[in-house]
């Protein structure tokens, strides 16, 4: 046997002895494998549930989008309006603001009319203001401000009340004023006024005009 063969034999022997593994821990390993498989099954089920939930959400959203699409497709076509007319019941904001200020002025006048009719003002002052407001009411009824059904209804009621106030004011009779006030209450004019023209700092400021 030459030196190479001797070395190879020594190497083979060393390799057989080197790192000889211990006895396989069969049961311990099997327990670990079973536990790991159980954990992975649970994790897989959890992921499956999440995926199902996601798909359900996507499907629901798709049904909703399709439903909205069909609804829009089936709905009768409406003529397109200018943007200004689409706001606040198709009323131009400038006209609506004018209407709101008008209602505020009317409320102030109504309060004066119901309380006394003369007050600190000179005789005929309330009548003159009612006359002015009546003209303004009619102008507003002919303007785009009346495009809003609520505003129009209120302006029409105001017109009636103002006519009565002008008539009652000319006579300056307490009985006449009470009848007008009763009519105003019956029609719920004040409540509707406050609904359409809520009290605001600007409106409150306007109340001191008269």
């Amino acid at each position: 046997m030459n030196s190479d063969e001797q070395f190879d034999a020594m190497l083979d022997a060393a390799m057989r002895q080197a790192g000889e593994p211990p006895v396989t821990p069969r049961e311990a390993l099997w327990a670990r494998i079973e536990a790991e498989r159980g954990q992975r099954r649970v994790a897989a089920l959890h992921q499956q549930r999440i995926r199902r939930g996601l798909w359900f959400g996507v499907a629901a959203a798709a049904v909703l989008v399709i439903g909205v699409g069909i609804g829009r497709f089936m709905a009768p076509a409406r003529p397109r309006l200018p943007v200004a007319q689409q706001q606040h019941g198709d009323t131009n904001p400038a006209y609506r603001l004018a209407a709101v200020e008008h209602f505020t002025r009317f409320e102030v006048l109504l309060t004066q009319f119901q309380s006394d009719g003369s007050g600190a003002d000179q005789p005929g002052a309330v009548e003159a203001r009612a006359q002015q407001l009546l003209q303004d009411t009619r102008l507003l009824l002919d303007s785009p401000a009346a495009a809003d059904a609520d505003v129009r209804g209120l302006l029409e009621d105001l017109e009636t009340v103002l006519v009565q106030m002008v008539q009652a004011g000319s006579k300056h009779g307490a009985q006449e004023r009470q009848w007008v006030a009763a009519g105003v209450n019956q029609q719920g004019v004040v409540d509707r006024l406050r609904l359409v023209a809520p009290i605001s700092p600007a409106a409150a400021g306007n109340r001191g005009v008269y």
Partner: protein
């Protein structure tokens, strides 16, 4: 029970068949993992992962090789990949191991030979070391190694030859010391 019957039972999730499959092969997988890593903890981890993955992938087994060969291929892949991951960690331990080797060298010839052999094997690349361990330490045949590693038989033989040559060179100093 032959392999086909075992496979059929495994595919329907038969617990007894799974245990039988495990009992048949766990020794070879664990021994190979231990030989490659020289670490019981890692050997257990790799063995566990081999069987867990094998049970998960059984449905994909197409019968192109023996069930055992398919299992060992999974095992070797897990061991080699796992070792690549721990190599960086191992480098940190090099200094400590070197100090231990110096102490061991003073204890006797057998220990010196074993440690030098381990050092030389550590310097081999994973592919060469796998062939050396499987053939020279665990007794696998070249055609089996070739199938498991997915390489030609000739490559397996060439790698074994080069691995041995590398060990011989690394340990030639020791042979000279022994003859002196």
């Amino acid at each position: 029970m032959n392999e086909r019957e075992l496979l059929e039972r495994l595919l329907v999730g038969d617990a007894a068949a799974e245990r039988q499959f495990y009992d048949l092969h766990v020794d070879r997988i664990y021994r190979l993992a231990y030989r490659m890593t020289r670490d019981d903890t890692m050997a257990r981890d790799f063995t566990q992962e081999t069987f867990v993955r094998a049970f998960e992938r059984l449905a994909g087994f197409r019968g192109e090789s023996a069930l055992s060969t398919w299992l060992y291929a999974i095992g070797v892949s897990i061991i080699l990949n796992g070792m690549r991951k721990v190599k960086r960690y191992r480098r940190h331990e090099t200094d400590l191991e070197a100090a231990e080797h110096v102490a061991a060298r003073q204890t006797g010839g057998d220990s010196v030979l074993r440690l030098r052999l381990q050092d030389a094997m550590d310097r081999l690349s994973d592919g060469y070391r796998a062939v050396l361990v499987m053939h020279d330490m665990e007794g696998y045949k070249h055609d089996e190694i070739a199938t498991i590693l997915g390489i030609p038989v000739g490559t397996s033989k060439a790698r074994l030859s080069r691995a041995r040559e590398s060990l011989r060179e690394d340990m030639s100093g020791l042979a000279a010391e022994g003859s002196a």
